[in-house]
């Protein structure tokens, strides 16, 4: 079995975002990480390989110079065998469908039949790329998965739907799974594995190598007018001893905020 993972190197959750004065762009300060949901995808791929054998390969779109150290430290060091980095100037401003097209071609070229993705990246919050990849490849897909098992060419997955409802679904490979928190507990990289990861193969592909033209990934979605979320009016600190503040809080919730 050949198992793929799609991962995105993105701003960490403690990053601060600052829109430019004209709203045309924004900057972030903070470190970059492999998306936290992608880490559940990595762990599931490695566990599946440990159980059933096979090869694992991580796919990403981005500049090799920006993503390679994170992929080695957070993905290859956890047991994934190889990285495929799709890098092309035409992808710099790609929208979700452009990225999905590039990843789908790369997945196809590697002969993968099981792909794990995080349920979403934590930057654009589009939640589009995984379902688009499955659509482009004509594969089955199951999103927000909290339990997964594969047996030969069939799989079973539990998905977390709206309203706390969970469903167990089954089907045949090939399938694309997106990982929800709780699917597994991602392991930590050990020093020998980190050293070994430095020697693992990484391949860089441009669009031509994937048989795609720049037009095929031309963006159809434009984003503008970046701004900060609306400010909350400043609140009040309730002063006094514990009994007083509790009584005053209940009064304010009932009489001022009217939420009780």
């Amino acid at each position: 079995m050949k198992i793929g993972i799609c991962a995105k190197v993105t701003a960490d959750t403690d990053a601060r975002l600052s829109p430019s004065a004209d709203g045309g762009s924004f900057e972030f300060s903070g470190k970059s990480v492999v998306g936290p949901y992608d880490m559940f995808a990595v762990e599931e791929a490695v566990q599946t390989k440990e159980k059933h054998g096979g090869d694992t390969v991580v796919f990403t779109v981005g500049a090799e110079s920006d993503v390679l150290s994170q992929l080695r430290g957070s993905v290859l060091a956890l047991g994934v065998d190889k990285a495929v980095i799709v890098e092309d100037p035409a992808l710099a401003n790609a929208d979700a469908l452009g990225v999905a097209r590039a990843l789908a071609k790369a997945i196809e070229a590697e002969g993968v039949d099981l792909v794990f993705c995080g349920k979403q990246a934590i930057d654009d919050d589009n939640v589009q790329v995984p379902a688009m990849i499955a659509g482009l490849l004509g594969w089955a897909q199951v999103s927000r998965v909290t339990a997964f098992a594969v047996d030969g060419t069939s799989f079973t997955a539990t998905r977390a739907m709206d309203g706390g409802i969970k469903q167990v679904v089954s089907g045949n490979l090939p399938v694309l799974i997106t990982a929800e928190r709780g699917l597994n507990t991602p392991r930590y990289a050990k020093l020998p594995a980190i050293m070994k990861a430095k020697k693992k193969p990484t391949e860089r592909r441009d669009l031509a190598a994937l048989g795609l033209s720049a037009e095929a990934v031309a963006p159809k979605v434009s984003t503008s007018a970046y701004g900060s979320p609306p400010e909350r009016p400043s609140g009040k600190i309730i002063e006094g001893d514990t009994d007083t503040v509790v009584a005053e809080l209940v009064r304010l919730l009932r009489e001022e905020a009217k939420v009780l």
């Binding site: 469908l97 999103s143 434009s222």
Partner: protein
Amino acid sequence: MSGILVLAEHDGGAFKKSATELIGKASELAAALGTQVSAAVVGDAPAASLGAAGAGKVYQVQGDHSSYDAAAMASAWKAIVDAASPDVILASASYVGKDALPRLVALLNTGMGSEVTELRAEGGAVIGRRPLYAGKLYADVQISSSPAVFSVRPNSFPQPGAGSGEAEVVTVSAGAQALTTVVETLQPTSTTADLTEAERIVSGGRALKSAENFDNVIRPLAAAVGATVGASRAAVDAGYASHSEQVGQTGKTVNPTLYIAAGISGAIQHLAGMRTSKVIVAINKDPEAPIFEHATYGIVDDLFEVCPRLTKAFEEL
């Protein structure tokens, strides 16, 4: 324009609130753009009744679609889109909207703005505004290809006034192409509302110090005020609460009327998940905790002193 198509979701034949909410918003946009509103229904549901919300025409793929599969849903929607050829498609950012809608967008080779919270007509086009980075940033999104597809965060727009009239129903046929089978549906075990839909939430953080304290302090407080229990990432990572209870950028994004945060410092990633709560109460010993900058009401005190008294006060209401 050949109109705005609303993908109307239903639950066993009962239309979801999002279906009429989106038809209402689509009617407002259509009036500004000088175009029509139609709706898409997959499965057995009273399609004509959507006329009361403002849909002129409803395209329906009939048959049993109660066993949800992303590929089958996307292909049924595709058949409707081919028949209706809309310029704009609106759908709910529900599980199905996040799962099957991007697949449809790939089949249509178009673009999509996800989870918009505002929509406006401008220059003959529809523009959406949406949160990014879990709400730390907002931006406008516009689609240059047709149809322009938007998913809308539930409860972003008011329900339309109840009208009358039946929509014309156009039956569309679509090949069943389910690639998965539903084996079992598990209903939620808890009787309280799901975090993402809860009106009231009581969340606990690292300051609870143990799972036992979390169970003895936070859960009774939540029960006393009819709230759903939430937790910070630190509390979940320490094992005080379950993964499904985590509120924040890498947990649930919540939008309650009342959010009580006990022993939560207010890391950016937690704030990102709850900042749109209407009233925020913060209980923390540390007066410098960032949560106080976002709280409607703050109490600087020991949560182990405050919470039991607050539980008692809520029980006596």
